[in-house]
Subunit: 217 residues, 2 copies
């Protein structure tokens, strides 16, 4: 059974694809372009009632929300490819903790910067210096905590690459390549070494070949 992934061009979906590649799971993609309103198609809304990407279909089983999909894949295919969840309940707790930190602390300011600086001009929105400053400050404080954490552990959840690290890939890539905030990473030595490590994994190099949303071309 080949697993199907909807909306491959978008950042949240790239979390899922990186995870599938780490696990060596075969998949096919169905393009869904949010900027063309394809997410409002009634058939798509049947799969994802909020009209977001990604969605996966694994046989008859449909699942949405990227971080829920990561957990499902990491659990269902635990013994295949990279173990992204840790070997004990305690290690798994650490993965969950830092995956929640990504979702609750890192993602909101990163997303705000990406939306304003990277997509804003394409959507007729003039980037807002006050919003940029506020979110850079918020993100900087989060990265300061990461710097301390990564000075004691190679990866966020401990000594193993996990869902928590993987979940940071798409938006950190956007921050560096499109929002032009590389300095926020490179100025923090342990964050910088961590980023060099996780972003050079073959899975992520492969994800980078996926075309960006049309609106950016």
């Amino acid at each position: 059974m080949v697993l199907t992934v909807y909306g491959p061009s978008f950042a949240s979906t790239k979390r899922v694809i990186a995870c599938l590649l780490e696990k060596g799971i075969e998949y096919s993609v169905v393009p869904v372009d949010i900027f063309k309103g394809e997410n409002n198609d009634p058939a798509y809304r049947q799969l994802q009632p909020f009209g977001k990407v990604p969605v996966i279909r694994d046989g008859d089983y449909v699942l949405f929300e990227s971080r829920a999909i990561l957990r499902y894949i990491a659990e269902k295919y635990k013994s295949q490819g990279t173990d992204l969840y840790g070997n004990t309940i305690e290690a798994r707790g650490q993965v969950e903790q830092w995956l929640e930190v990504e979702a609750q602390n890192f993602h909101p300011p990163a997303y705000a910067l990406v939306l304003d600086v990277m997509f804003g001009p394409k959507l007729g929105i003039v980037p807002d210096p006050k919003l940029i400053k506020e979110n850079e400050e918020k993100l900087g404080k989060v990265l300061d905590v990461y710097e301390e954490r990564l000075s004691r552990n190679k990866y966020l959840a401990g000594d193993f690459f996990s869902l928590a690290d993987l979940s940071h890939l798409p938006f950190t890539e956007y921050l560096i390549s499109f929002v032009k905030k590389k300095e926020m990473i490179s100025s923090r030595p342990h964050v910088s070494a961590w980023w060099d490590d996780i972003s050079s994994r073959p899975s992520w190099r492969e994800v980078l070949k996926i075309p960006l949303p049309d609106i950016l071309n």
Copy 2:
């Protein structure tokens, strides 16, 4: 070993306490008052580097982020008390999906309303009608999806009470009792029946006895 919970007065912590009560796990509490700056105490920052609540200590093991703690408890004590995670990988996937929906879709507008309307006046912030309207609209759209979902399933993840339902308890309680938005629940019959069901569970009735943060008194 008695598990320790830091910051019991706050809404996110009440998720954790409701979970512990569902599992029948003995716990003790350590008050941490954010409005008095106790979360900036260096010893507390050693436990939670972002200065948020809750934190738990289970023997030597320390964990933060409420939804990560929920998952840790539900996994570690799976066979004890209410099973909050489902019996199959697929059921667990649904729990994860709706727990992420709570975190990503329900929580942001609910939190914005609570902060502005419930805590704002105590913090010298004048509630902002535009912010209230925008977040009510966002939350209303989320609840419309819940209404449809709950017309087909008794609970969010299926036919069993799970972490996904439990995680909605503290902020929905605030929305009804303090933000005075009961109508957003009662106007949607299936959401209303679901709320009556989950909020009448003995665990939640017990959580309601915990004193509110001092600032509200």
